[in-house]
Structures are given as C-alpha cells and as structure tokens.
C-alpha cells in the first residue's frame, strides 16, 4: 500500500511534465512539501519526446537531467507515477484528494537491470514514440526514464510471458499481484499542470492524415529526427522507408480555424522552422523544405531564427493554407492550393508532409474532478472561483516550453501564497 505524507500545508501538483516538475521543484526548493502526480510511468511529459528545442537547437533531456537531479536531491517532493487524480473535495487551504494508482507490476526493488525485458516475448506499441515502433511488454519507457524502474504491461499479466518476467527477476521486483489502489491525501493548494495534446489530425480530413502514410504530424516528425527514435534519427517516410528529402510543412493544421481550434497555438511556426533544420541536418543541400503558412509567428528574438531559416536557399515559404492533399502513383503526398501572394495555383508533390498540429489542452480530454473555470477552448482560466486550484503551463494556454515554465513558476507562488496563509493560521 502506497503511503503519502501530506497536510494542508502540502502542495499537490498534477502532471509531471516540464510545467508540473517546475512548479513542484520551485515550491520544494522554497521549503514547501509537495506531492507530484503523473499519469505516465515516467516524468518529463511531452518535452522528452522532442528531439531539439528552438531556438537553441539544444536537447530537452539536458534540462530534464538537471530537473531530475534537483528532484533526487530534494526530500520534500513525493512522486506518484501511473497516478491520476480522481476526486477533489474541500476548499482552498484544506483539500482532500483521492488519487488512483495503476499497477506497475514492478516494485521499488527494481534495479533496471533489464532481465525481465530480455525474458518477455510479447511486443506492444511504443507509446513513447507515438506508436511508430514496437517495444517489449516489459520495458523502461526511455533511457532518461524516472523513476528508473521497469513497467510490465498489463496485457501480459496472467500470461506465461508475465510469469517469465517474474522468473527472470532476481530481486523480487516483479509483483504480478499488484492491484490498482486509491490513496487519499490532503493539500492546501493544487497546481493543475496536465499539459496539452496535439489536435486530432484525422479531423482535418482534407489533409488525409491516417489515409496517406506519408502525411504525419509535427510531434511524430520529432521522433523520426531523434537518434533514439524508431528510425535511429534517419528521416525515412513511413510508406516505403525512402529518405524524405523533400518535406512540406503545413502550418495552422487545426489552429486559427473556427472549424477546429479557434486559437493560434503559438509554438507551431517555430516548431516547423526548427524542423527545417532537421531536414538540412540530415541531407544537407539535398534536403528541401517548404513551409505553407498564413502568417509566420516568430515572436521577439525568435525573429532572428526565422530570418536565418529564410536565408537558407533550401527552404521556401508559400503564403497559403493548403486546400487538399492527394497522393500520386508513387505515394508522394501532393499539396494542392493557391499561393495568395499574386495568385499562383500549385499542385506540388513532396516526399513527406508534416502537419503543424495545433495545441489543445489535455484537460479538454479529461474531467477535472473539481469546479474549475476554463475557457471555451478548455484552457484553465485564472479565476478567483478556482480558489486554491491554479493552472500551469499548457493547461492554461497555448505556450512554448519557455513560457510554460514561466507560467509554472508563477503558479508555484500562487500555491505558496495559499499554504503560507495556512501556515500562519496554524502557527
């Protein structure tokens, strides 16, 4: 049975992505008690699934390493993974929260030696790589995974494979009898940092995502470019494994569209500009990128980044919302539309089309088990009615990583304001 130490001076942080980790760390490094709840078996959220960050082209795992070291060094944070908040009662300063813990089937004895993974035959979709590949049903989600502990997929529990995993473990770390449990805890304030999800590309039917193999999403493209992704960092298109040297990026795939997402998702322009670097990095001058856009939104110093990409002769910009993607005989996706700068019609074949999918809040998908004000897009609003519950990061707005962390740092203070008040009252 998992035990959680928490009082009304504790801060609950929901979501272990970079926003949630930041909120938790900033609060804990200010001396507060924190419980961090994450639904995945590991921390880091979507950022760890990115190959590089704009505009520095540095690696998200670099920042994650620092944050994990801060976390390991800090006794004030208790982390619950594979956990979801199922109920919140009470009020500002005195919440009572119930958290559902899914069984990992691996206990703290695990040394991540990997013997169970070797023993298991069954393969499952590799969720970490957006199902672009397969992994064993006993797995470590990634080399950076924290907790550094294996996970046994429930699909093999009660099967011979499950038993094989158990038998392979010398440390009694595999516990197939583990049950789902619900723990309850107190908290004075709650930071809701459940992040975002890419807009469902299949809803933009005229782009053929799901029908055309070589039409993929921007988040999937990150995995293709990542040396630790399913293709070992080679940019190969799904249909035939051919090198995708001529890549089209379609901006506002879902965003700025009253039939889909009304808001501008802010990060996608920069993300696509960044991804043209991946194409250049992989193929040099043989790599060609085309960005179809309405407005390029490279705000503040990001403008420099945009200007550099613009100066690259291998990247072209077309002001146009692509109207339709078709497929030619060689399964090349063909972008059809009109370049509105001077009205030029085009029907251009590319090796690969990347949809710059917009951002929608994950909270849209889930029920927040409490009364929380959110706007019509599902983003959590700053509102007194939310009492001691504060949104952070992409749960509150479409933000890039940098701004999400800012938001999370602010949220940490808002939570501290509440628990400090509790402390003064209890003192």
């Amino acid at each position: 049975m998992t035990s959680v130490v928490a009082t009304n001076q504790t801060i609950l942080v929901v979501g272990g992505g970079i926003s949630g980790m930041t909120a938790a760390l900033e609060a804990a490094e200010t001396g507060k008690q924190v419980v961090l709840v994450e639904k995945n078996p590991y921390l880091g959220g979507r950022t760890v699934q990115l190959y590089r960050y704009f505009p520095k082209m540095c690696h998200p795992t670099c920042g994650l390493e620092i944050n994990l070291r801060r976390l390991k060094a800090n006794p004030r944070i208790q982390v619950l993974t594979m956990a979801e908040v199922t109920g919140i009662t009470g009020d500002k300063g005195a919440y009572n929260i119930s958290v559902k813990l899914k069984p990992r089937y691996v206990n703290e004895n695990c040394t991540a030696c990997g013997e169970c993974g070797k023993a298991v035959k069954t393969e499952i979709d590799d969720a970490f790589n957006y199902n672009l590949g397969k992994i064993k049903a006993a797995y470590l989600p990634s080399s950076m995974a924290y907790p550094q502990r294996y996970v046994i997929d429930s699909s093999i529990v009660g099967t011979a494979d499950g038993e094989a995993a158990k038998a392979a473990c010398k440390y009694n770390a595999v516990d197939l009898g583990m049950q789902e449990e619900v723990v309850t805890l107190n908290a004075g304030a709650i930071v809701w940092a459940t992040g975002w999800q890419p807009y469902d590309a299949t809803k933009i039917v005229y782009y053929g995502y799901g029908r055309f193999k070589n039409v993929i999403s921007n988040v999937e493209f990150e995995r293709l470019a990542d040396p630790h992704g399913p293709t070992g960092g080679k940019i190969l298109r799904p249909s035939d494994g051919k090198e995708a040297k001529n890549v089209a990026f379609i901006q506002c795939a879902g965003s700025r569209d009253e039939n889909h997402l009304r808001h501008c998702s802010r990060f996608c322009c920069m993300a696509s500009l960044k991804q043209t670097h991946y194409v250049q990095e992989a193929f040099g001058d043989a790599g060609k990128s085309t960005i179809y856009y309405i407005d390029i939104r490279a705000i503040d110093r990001f403008e420099d980044f945009y200007q550099n990409v613009k100066a690259n002769p291998n990247v072209s910009f077309i002001k146009s919302k692509v109207a339709r993607i078709t497929e030619d005989k060689d399964s090349n996706p063909v972008c059809n539309g009109v370049n509105v700068e001077g009205y030029k019609r085009y029907a251009t074949a590319h090796d690969l089309v990347v949809l710059a999918l917009g951002m929608e809040p994950s909270v849209k998908g889930i029920e927040i088990p409490a009364e929380v004000m959110s706007d019509s897009s599902g983003f959590i609003m700053a509102d007194p009615a939310n009492a001691g519950i504060f949104g952070a990061g992409c749960a509150t707005n479409a933000l890039d990583v940098n701004r999400a962390v800012q938001s999370a740092t602010a949220a940490a203070l808002r939570a501290i304001q509440v628990v400090n008040k509790v402390a003064r009252a209890e003192a």
């Binding site: 039917v205 005229y206 029908r211 078709t326 497929e327």
Partner: protein
C-alpha cells in the same frame, strides 16, 4: 398504416418524363419494400436551386421554398418533408435555417406568402431520403429485406456536393463521407476505393461552362475506373445526369472510352430487395447497366 410517413417533395427533375424520373420510380419501389409512406406535397413548387441566385434574389427564392413548407404543414401536418433531390433538400434546408434565424426575413416571407393565401406556423423538419434510410431506419433495417445481395459487383460511391455540403448527413465528414459505401455494402455490393467521391460534377455549369464541367466529370469517371468500379452510384439527380450523359462527348473530346453506368442507390436497393429491372427504373439509364439488367432477370 405504414411504419413511417413523410411529406414527399420529389422536385422538378423527378417528375414523370423528367431527367430523373427513374430515380422516382426506384425510390417508390424501395419505399414500398421498406414500408415507408410518401405523400406528395400538394401543388409543391420548384426550390429555385442554387443556380438561380442571380435573377431571384434572396427573398423570392426563400418565398418559393416557404410556400412548400406552408403547403406541407397545412396538408400533411406533423410530417417531416423528404426530398430525394440534393438541390431541393439544400434549398429547403437553407431557407428553413435563414427563416428561423432571421425574424425580419420571416416577417417579409409571411407577407409574401399571404399573397398566395398561405402562412407558416412551424417549419417542418427537412430530410433527404438518405437521412430517412440511415437515421430513421438504420442499416440493419435496410439489410433485413435484402433477398438478392449484389454479390461481387464493384461500385464507386459518388456522393458529390450538395447531398454532402454544407449540411451533409450527420456524423459524416464533408471530405470523406462513408454512408454511400455502407449502403452499397448493405445490399451486398463492393464499394471500391474512390478518391473523387465528393468532387463536384460541375453542377449547373455543365450547361454554361461545358468544358470546365466536363473536365471535372472526366476526373470523376477516371477515378472510378482506377478504383476498379463497374458502375457509379450516386444520391443526386444532377450528379447522375452530368456524369452519365456527357460520357459520349468526353470520349469525343479526350479520346477516352468511357461507358460506365451511373445509378441511384435506390436502384441498387430495389434490385437487392428482389425488384425487377422495371421497378428499379433501369430502363431509365442512358448508359445501360447490362450487368444489373441480367442480375434482375435471374
């Protein structure tokens, strides 16, 4: 007492001797089998169709549709209006929407209607025949009466525009609606891959801009052949006519050898329900559907 009753709005093209008369024939047979009672709206009039925009102006066009609403409501109270023609359906639904969202427009319309001694109280629901089949009955109900599944026959389900946009069938996408394929499968046929299923046939521009329209029609028919289809199926009279009757001209112009029958879903269903070639109105097809004629004969 039939299990379902509707106020029927056949539309000009579906009348006897008109360009879609065979559509009407097959719909009647189909409804008979499905025990659907369709009562024609007395003295209904033309919907104006989208092409009349230039001359008509908004109010007169809407008045025309409003007249049908009033007639249906007075003579067939409580019954939904069902159209088989995409244009009629669209024209009516558009009018209904605008009237219900614009009180000024409604007032003016009533004034105009008064001239014809009519008035609107409530506007009935406007349905396309396909909605009746899919939503009011459902695929299972449609499958039950199937006596002779159209085994091994390949069809390209051509939805076209106005049955699909801007309103469309609920739960279906504008870009890749699946219902026609499902209908084909319901009666035992095979729906082939057909990436032009919602491409425009040129509509009324088949008259005014034949080159452009026929260019589009050519793409549609080619795609049907590419998908391996033996026949094209559609829910729309104009699509049916345009795609069927210009094949000869297109062959002349482009040197193609098009000779593909274009049918209504109602014709397939009638046949699958064991109806005769005549009941299915196959004699009304300009490009004869030999294979189906034989099938009906068996």
């Amino acid at each position: 007492m039939a299990r379902k009753e509707y106020a029927f709005y056949p539309g000009c093209s579906s009348q006897k001797g008109a360009s879609a008369s065979n559509y009407l024939v097959s719909v009647e047979s189909m409804c008979k089998t499905l025990d659907i009672k369709m009562t024609e709206i007395p003295d209904w009039n033309c919907c104006g169709a989208s092409v009349s925009y230039a001359e008509s102006g908004e109010l007169p066009r809407i008045a025309m549709n409003a007249r049908n609403f009033a007639l249906a409501e007075t003579n067939l109270p409580g019954q939904d209006i069902v159209a088989t023609c995409a244009a009629c359906w669209l024209g009516s639904r558009e009018s209904k929407e605008r009237l219900e969202h614009n009180s000024g427009l409604m007032a003016d319309t009533q004034t105009a209607l008064k001239e014809a001694g009519l008035q609107i109280k409530v506007i009935p629901e406007i349905k396309h025949m396909v909605e009746v089949l899919i939503e009011d009955l459902g695929y299972d109900e449609l499958k039950k009466p199937v006596k002779k599944p159209l085994q091994g026959m390949k069809f390209a389900g051509y939805v076209g525009c106005q049955t699909n946009r801007p309103f469309g069938i609920s739960g279906e996408s504008f870009e890749n609606p699946m219902y026609l394929d499902r209908l084909i499968e319901t009666v035992g046929g095979e729906a082939v891959k057909f990436d032009q299923k919602v491409t425009c046939c040129g509509g009324a521009l088949a008259f005014s801009e034949p080159e452009k329209a026929q260019g589009q029609i050519k793409d549609i028919i080619e795609a049907a052949y590419d998908g391996g289809a033996e026949m094209i199926v559609t829910p729309c009279p104009l699509c049916q006519a345009n795609v069927e009757v210009y094949q000869g001209q297109i062959n002349k112009k482009y040197g193609t050898k098009f000779d593909i029958p274009v049918l209504y879903y109602s014709q397939l269903m009638t046949l699958a329900y064991g109806g005769s070639a005549k009941e299915a109105g196959l004699n009304g097809n300009v490009v004869r559907a030999r294979k189906l004629e034989e099938f009906a004969g068996k």
